[in-house]
């Protein structure tokens, strides 16, 4: 489900390199309509998306670097604020641009209220943030960074930030991106690099992970999901920063809400990658998260924003064990899928609980299978009368009247060569007649049948061709008349 959504998102990602469709990037994420328990998640999503997509939309290096620095600043702010180890060149360029972020963000009128926030946040948090080794490690661990803004960053090879921070060749970044995508957490552990470099490299690598030309289709999917992931996590992070003085009480709801997107993200990331790899990745992320959380609580700083923009955060009062964190993510993934299945299986809205839902699903699938058996038996018993003269007549008529239904209509993933057999000219006129007839008959009966559920995650995958079929038919009135007649006769 999410896969297909990410597929559709990724169809747009190749365009992102042009930078022209930066505005399209936030929209699919908003349209995806993940069941967000908190409304202003979307706002911050859009804010973050605007923030990150502005590099791609504003080709000027200064603006892009400004925004990137703002981003980095925000990310840095979520690190342990007390652990500023280095005042590298990383910090100095970031002091000046914070004021520039606001007008940059102002261009993107997407998040509405959320837009001014990141700017102010960036302002306030620049100094305490740090190129934290832990942060960079976490950043490295996650392939959930705004990979879609890589187009912007990649285009701006002359980014001052990039120049300042990164001494790593892009090929290495891409390789590390590949490694990240494969779930190998090696980037963060490289202590030889300086922190800003690592940060930049990690950003690049994550961005590179979403880079369409350099990635396989599987990786683009992960990149697409990583896009969503980064947005979600950045959004939740932004939300956390909004209340810098949040008490510990606020932590759990925000953390809970954060976990939803995280879980979704990680779930989607998991579906795209090998499970083992993602589990490994997840665990390493959570290991770092757990250790960092402990470190933070030792510092006892009240205005600690949640650090969960990359990894799952342990709720307050719950075990920070990596296993339990992984389990929680897993559970939430499963519950998400169960929701979809609930929509599918009729009459399952009131049933809660995994076991009962699974019961219903099993019953439903079994009943469908039995129905297929029964129908095939019934079809076998039908004794149609063969009339060859009519047939030949019909074939001639049909060839004259309308063309056979084109075969490219249905959305399929790959194996289209096998369907060439379906394009036999002899089979298709009759079949198109049937499909037209059936399609037309379907219309008065079930007007909503076949219409993709726009909010569902498979919606992008299933298309609706109702009107198309009707147009190709004999004629709407004729067919409808006939079928209503025939159905009344039954």
């Amino acid at each position: 489900m999410e896969k297909e959504r990410f597929l559709s998102v990724d169809c747009k990602s190749p365009d992102m390199n042009s930078g022209a469709v930066a505005d399209q990037v936030p929209r699919p994420f908003l349209d995806l309509g993940w069941e967000q328990p908190v409304h202003h998640d979307a706002q911050f999503e859009s804010a973050i998306s605007s923030l990150v997509s502005s590099p791609s939309s504003n080709p000027s290096a200064g603006n892009g670097s400004v925004v990137v620095r703002a981003l980095i600043g925000r990310f840095g702010s979520i690190c342990d604020s007390g652990e500023i180890s280095q005042t590298s060149c990383y910090s100095t360029p970031l002091d000046s641009p914070p004021k520039l972020t606001l007008p940059v963000l102002g261009h993107q009128q997407q998040g509405g209220g959320g837009l001014p926030m990141p700017g102010t946040m960036a302002d306030g948090q620049f100094t305490p943030f740090a190129a934290n080794p832990g942060f960079t490690e976490r950043a490295a661990r996650s392939s959930c960074f705004g990979a879609w803004s890589y187009g912007g960053l990649g285009d701006q090879s002359g980014l001052p930030v990039a120049r300042n921070l990164s001494r790593v060749p892009s090929s290495h970044l891409l390789k590390s991106a590949g490694a990240l995508q494969m779930g190998v957490p090696d980037n963060g552990k490289d202590a030889s690099k300086s922190n800003p470099e690592r940060m930049e490299m990690e950003m690049r690598s994550k961005l590179g992970g979403g880079m369409p030309p350099s990635s396989t289709s599987g990786r683009t999917m992960v990149g697409g999901s990583a896009n969503n992931v980064s947005k979600r996590k950045a959004a939740s992070k932004g939300r956390g920063k909004e209340s810098p003085l949040s008490s510990s009480n606020l932590y759990s709801p925000t953390a809970a809400e954060d976990e939803h997107p995280d879980a979704k993200i990680c779930k989607s990331a998991k579906t795209n990658g090998a499970d083992k790899d993602s589990v490994v990745k997840q665990e390493t992320e959570q290991n770092i998260g757990a250790s960092q959380k402990k470190g933070k609580e030792n510092n006892a700083k009240p205005p600690e924003p949640p650090k969960d923009y990359i990894h799952v955060r342990a709720r307050r009062g719950q075990a920070t064990d990596s296993h339990s964190l992984a389990e929680r993510v897993r559970r939430e993934k499963i519950s998400k899928r169960m929701k979809f299945l609930q929509d599918l299986v009729p009459g399952c809205n009131k049933i809660t609980g995994k076991a009962m839902m699974l019961d219903e699903i099993i019953n439903y699938v079994q009943s469908l299978q039995r129905q297929v058996e029964f129908l095939s038996m019934k079809l076998a018993t039908i004794n149609p009368q063969v009339d060859f003269d009519l047939e030949t007549l019909l074939q001639e008529n049909m060839h004259q009247e309308h063309e056979p239904l084109p075969q490219q209509v249905y959305p399929l993933e790959g194996t289209s060569t096998a369907f060439s057999y379906a394009q036999q000219p002899q089979g298709s006129p009759l079949q198109s007649a049937i499909t037209n007839g059936l399609g037309v008959s379907q219309q008065p009966l079930c007007p909503t049948d076949g219409l993709a559920d726009a909010t569902s995650q498979l919606g992008n995958f299933w298309e609706s061709d109702l009107r198309y079929v009707v147009q190709l038919g004999f004629g709407q009135s004729q067919g409808a008349e006939f079928f209503s007649q025939s159905l009344h006769a039954d």
């Binding site: 579906t271 296993h323 599918l344 995994k354 699974l358 079809l379 149609p384 061709d465 006939f482 039954d490």
Partner: protein, 223 residues
């Protein structure tokens, strides 16, 4: 969510094609044979129309296990037939790191040993486990899936099953309607659409000359 029109059309086409190919006629085959032929072509049509998913591959693999279906499948799928059969093995296990498995087992056993009375969560876990096993058996190719992908595939599979049932029901109603209408008015004043239906019906039995010629070029199918 509903399957789209296009999927249903593709499915219908494939199914009719498959039924034609199976060359089962009303007179020659028994009811069981006909029924299994129809079911086979319906399943293959569903798998083909859906594309490449885990359950489709599993379905084709399980169908191809029967010797009698093989020629039919090969005919329909062409070269696609060989690839899925090789890839999908029901004994595929998801590669799991031994350490992780060991650790999780230890963790689980620790949890269970601590709990004397049947804990609701533990009970719920085992119930879910049982049902997951059942579901794995239901969904084709489900043995080699983990919980997440299993749910995904179930979702997809259920949608396709729904579409399959819908299409077959409609097919049946139109056929019966055509039968009734034919009985009702025997003279040739039927609208053209009825002829179309009858032609479709006639094509089931693949007695048309063109198809026969094409079929004769290939090895005879026995079902």
């Amino acid at each position: 969510m509903q399957a789209t029109k296009s999927f249903e059309q593709a499915f219908l086409k494939q199914m009719l094609l498959g039924i034609q190919l199976s060359a089962v006629s009303h007179t020659t085959g028994s009811l069981q044979e006909r029924k299994s032929a129809i079911k086979l072509s319906a399943d293959v049509a569903m798998a083909v129309a859906r594309g490449s998913k885990k359950w489709t591959r599993g379905l084709i693999a399980s169908l191809s296990k029967e010797e009698q279906n093989r020629s039919f499948l090969q005919f329909v799928l062409g070269k696609e037939f060989e690839r899925p059969a090789k890839i999908c093995h029901s004994s595929w296990k998801i590669p799991r790191s031994k350490n992780i498995v060991r650790r999780s087992l230890r963790f689980l056993s620790k949890r269970q040993s601590n709990i004397r009375a049947p804990n609701s969560s533990v009970l719920a876990g085992t119930l879910v486990e049982k049902r997951t096993q059942v579901l794995k058996r239901l969904v084709p190719g489900g043995e080699s899936m983990d919980a997440f992908s299993l749910l995904d595939e179930t979702l997809d599979y259920a949608t396709c099953l729904q579409a399959q049932v819908d299409v077959m029901q409609k097919l049946m109603t139109t056929l019966e309607a055509s039968k009734h209408s034919r009985r009702a008015d025997s003279d040739a004043q039927c609208p053209k659409e009825k002829f179309h239906l009858l032609a479709m019906v006639g094509s089931w039995y693949s007695t048309r000359k063109g198809l026969r010629k094409r079929l004769s070029k290939r090895p005879k199918l026995t079902l």
